[in-house]
Symmetry: D2
Subunit: 337 residues, 4 copies
Amino acid sequence: MIIVFKPDATEQHIDHVADRLRELGLKSQLSRGESRTILGVIGDERLLEHQPLSVFPGVESVTPILAPWKLAGREFQPYDTVITVDGIPIGGPRVIVMAGPCAVEKREVTAGIAHEVKAAGAAILRGGAYKPRTSPYSFQGLGREGLDFLAEAKKQTGLPVVSEILDPRDTDVFLEKADIIQIGARNMQNFELLKEVGAYDKPVLLKRGLSATIKEWLLSAEYIMSRGNRHVMLCERGIRTFETQYRNVLDLSAVPTLKALSHLPVIVDPSHATGQWRLVAPMAKAAVAAGADGLLIEVHSNPECALCDGEESIKPHRFAALMEDLKNVAQAVGRTL
Amino acid sequence: MIIVFKPDATEQHIDHVADRLRELGLKSQLSRGESRTILGVIGDERLLEHQPLSVFPGVESVTPILAPWKLAGREFQPYDTVITVDGIPIGGPRVIVMAGPCAVEKREVTAGIAHEVKAAGAAILRGGAYKPRTSPYSFQGLGREGLDFLAEAKKQTGLPVVSEILDPRDTDVFLEKADIIQIGARNMQNFELLKEVGAYDKPVLLKRGLSATIKEWLLSAEYIMSRGNRHVMLCERGIRTFETQYRNVLDLSAVPTLKALSHLPVIVDPSHATGQWRLVAPMAKAAVAAGADGLLIEVHSNPECALCDGEESIKPHRFAALMEDLKNVAQAVGRTL
Amino acid sequence: MIIVFKPDATEQHIDHVADRLRELGLKSQLSRGESRTILGVIGDERLLEHQPLSVFPGVESVTPILAPWKLAGREFQPYDTVITVDGIPIGGPRVIVMAGPCAVEKREVTAGIAHEVKAAGAAILRGGAYKPRTSPYSFQGLGREGLDFLAEAKKQTGLPVVSEILDPRDTDVFLEKADIIQIGARNMQNFELLKEVGAYDKPVLLKRGLSATIKEWLLSAEYIMSRGNRHVMLCERGIRTFETQYRNVLDLSAVPTLKALSHLPVIVDPSHATGQWRLVAPMAKAAVAAGADGLLIEVHSNPECALCDGEESIKPHRFAALMEDLKNVAQAVGRTL
Amino acid sequence: MIIVFKPDATEQHIDHVADRLRELGLKSQLSRGESRTILGVIGDERLLEHQPLSVFPGVESVTPILAPWKLAGREFQPYDTVITVDGIPIGGPRVIVMAGPCAVEKREVTAGIAHEVKAAGAAILRGGAYKPRTSPYSFQGLGREGLDFLAEAKKQTGLPVVSEILDPRDTDVFLEKADIIQIGARNMQNFELLKEVGAYDKPVLLKRGLSATIKEWLLSAEYIMSRGNRHVMLCERGIRTFETQYRNVLDLSAVPTLKALSHLPVIVDPSHATGQWRLVAPMAKAAVAAGADGLLIEVHSNPECALCDGEESIKPHRFAALMEDLKNVAQAVGRTL
């Protein structure tokens, strides 16, 4: 932590801050420059989490030096985390594709899509049973019955299932029926839900909030990990900007940045990011080229009748063609699919 | 709903859409322009919530005409909603000031601040018992004990209490101990929580999400109202932008815009919006000048030791001076304080 | 400047940076913390403008300590700059209102509006002769003839004129016909234009770029001032965000922030910021309450026929009523109008 | 154009608008829905550019149907534009790499880098002679001498040159010494400069403004094209968002979107977008995977001493390795390099 004093700060101001640091068990070192005096804090600056130093008289600015996360950081764990789900390693050399409908609607449709994405090479089945919808008048998902349909599709195809939880009171049923619990973008800072899923050993796919910084995102991962659950994967799904041409802006620079800052696997969701099925294929390829460890792709056999996000769902035959292209891109960057 | 067809759309494409509309019980009217054919949907376009028309072949764009909310809109209720809390009317000619510490910390400190803000003219006591913090290592609030301290401060001062709920499992204790339940910015789209507070008759202060549009915000109000609870007030608290000079950008244009679109009271929180105590006074005055029905202001007797957001808390004597200024500004725009 | 080294930085890495600093004539001081080593630069860190220290091996981050501007800063000049235009002081206790049409269209209309805004109490006439329009097919302004119409309106009313320059090749005519030269939002970083107007003694109204930070904005002011022209006023006119309900988001927190960082006058343009005439009055009042030194307001006698931005122009009678309200708000915050 | 009337609009309101449309030579068609009346405009809605319909009494909203550009659109020209520079086709199956230093500094350094990037497979040499710098105290470029150094490097290597123009008064020298004139992000809406380069037959590389929408960007291309110069290529270089981890967010969704809306070649600049040399390689690969027609990459033999943007420059040996990877990615998506 670096504390910069205003040009007119007095010795008393400086001493007042230094005293407070000492009380907290921290040492500090003073540098007097030509135009500013600076106090460098030596020791664990996390001790200062609860201490608003910027309101002390004479203080101009306070700049942290260390990353505010610990368990999620590469500094804590230099090697890549690999999360194994039903024998499928996520975060290793193989790029993992998770595919399926946005919302689970009917028993047969779900199983049908599962068979098709499996045939095309998907490793994991995605599907929403509980749906967070902007409007209260939109389809809210089948709930528990949707999880049953997914479980049945798994029984038929062997594909493990990822599905989104919305309410901490539903944890039990997710622990039973899902292989990966998804925390959606809107709940990235629903800390009660993070603490809840942090209490179990179940893999968690943590989506980036719509306007979450990388730093806030890693701190949300830290919420889960600090409760004991280390099986967290991060999923970039577009951020909100001024551009209205697509739903969100897929931030692929996040991929190599996260791989540098953290050891956790990084997944990319080009479907929700763009909201347009025509953009899914180019953005999926770009994600793999940028170094993503996996993809989350919406596939629907009849997008015209999808109850949720039909605009961004691709049909099974387009998904199959995309998987062929993705194999080539993965190979070009030294990965497999 | 206006459906625009691509220049190369065929008659079959147009018929296919018109047929689907008919199936849904909607009439449509065709306009053939020089460069585009347009289908105007006649009837309740909310029937189209579950129908992704933009994926139909030949369709170029789909534009809704009606606002997606109903109960929250001025069209539904032309007169202003006034919410009465312990006899204090929110949404009427008087500007209501809610003040207190960011987080409740100690019994005596809380009561002390309550006495001071009451003396200065505040009508409602604010204080956080459960705190949503970006880092798992930050102070998370006293929880239920914090609500007890607030209730005690209310007993001493008569000030009703507003406090933030984080978890739907805590509803009972909030119904008992708080007069207004606050939904924080991070939970504006925690739909399970919205549904929960929508089931009761307790006033709700709904903060705008960090990057929520006005439209999304009113739809979140609609979630609460559509469950039966009509006592919703909206609280602008700054939006996320590229500017790093202050924590968020207080969007005061939202105030007259909401007053035009909706009948609900509009509150402004200059403390969280700016994150800097020096900006609280000018922004509070600007909010009243822009037409806000109330303010939410952080006051702390010792910001240097505040466990949460000390940077943005003003001291009681500054709050008292601000209240005097606010009276003048309120009067200048035809309100009282 | 604070240079933080990576945990695995070697002594050689640190020496390499310290050596480079010495070569540049700067001293540095080393702090060895528990988890990071830090080098504080002592001396004028502007010497490092041309030196990319972050690419030196072992360097983790580089944080500047000083503001990058000099002449525009309060540290350089503690008292407020007051710019006098034809005897009218801008930046003093009186709030100055500049009003007139978005674009100058016809001789008589321009003069007519000038008479009306003067009668209502405006101190300065605004009007665009050269118009920066997003589309090449929109009305581009009357050019030199527009400046003539403004000059004639000035002759009739005595109101000094502010108008926007687009091209450095037009400087001569602006020096002759305008009293204040406006640099528009799109040209805030047109550095050649800034240098050009910096070479004269004519007052400049520098609008904030659509997505310019406060820091970039003050550096653009510094461009003008470093060429010799100290008569710069800053004009907040809304920033671009994700919100589509209004054209831009008026960032009123910029007003007190600029007044703290800089000594230059701060003007607010609620018309361009919101793009909606209904929002002009509440935002104008809010701007004065927040501490603005002046306002820039579009007034048109017949918005239905305005060739530019009719949506945001208010009619003269509404402007007159607004001026009455603004007098009250100004008084409430200790100013006059 | 679709005009929606308010629920309480009268017949007179509707007639007033219809009359105005008739005066402008446009036909209209009325649709009376259950909750709103709608007027669809038939005819060239560009006639409405100068007509602010939204201020007419009774009007609720006005929605354009057609894209506001013409020459830049795919509807105007269905096939891809290929721009040939010294025999090198830009916009065809081959991905074109433009590489070189951010700023031209010294004669020998420039020529040396030119030789190295050519050896690695670059087709065009980039280099800034006139530099737009945020601070007036930063290195502003060598100006005309820099263009001379680039011309000399071209003579030695045969690589055509792209360089940025800042001032319309410099057009002559750019026409003589540069093969492609670059319009930088800050000047995307410097319309006088756009008109100037539109008057010649020289290829133009038009960078996206820092917070420009796709729509505004294509309208800036339209400015150039409507003056006669059809040789425009678009360059995505990152947009400004709330994220501070990298300089800007590279918006690769723009690539397939522009290829759908427009026939112009699309180039991507991963160096300026990210501002970090470590991110250049993954983002360059992602850009090619997303369908970019070319790349603009900063290469410097000694980034530690670069006078501009050393942080984002990669060294020649890294550039050579990247070119090998890019060949594989290009091949994986059916292109060559």
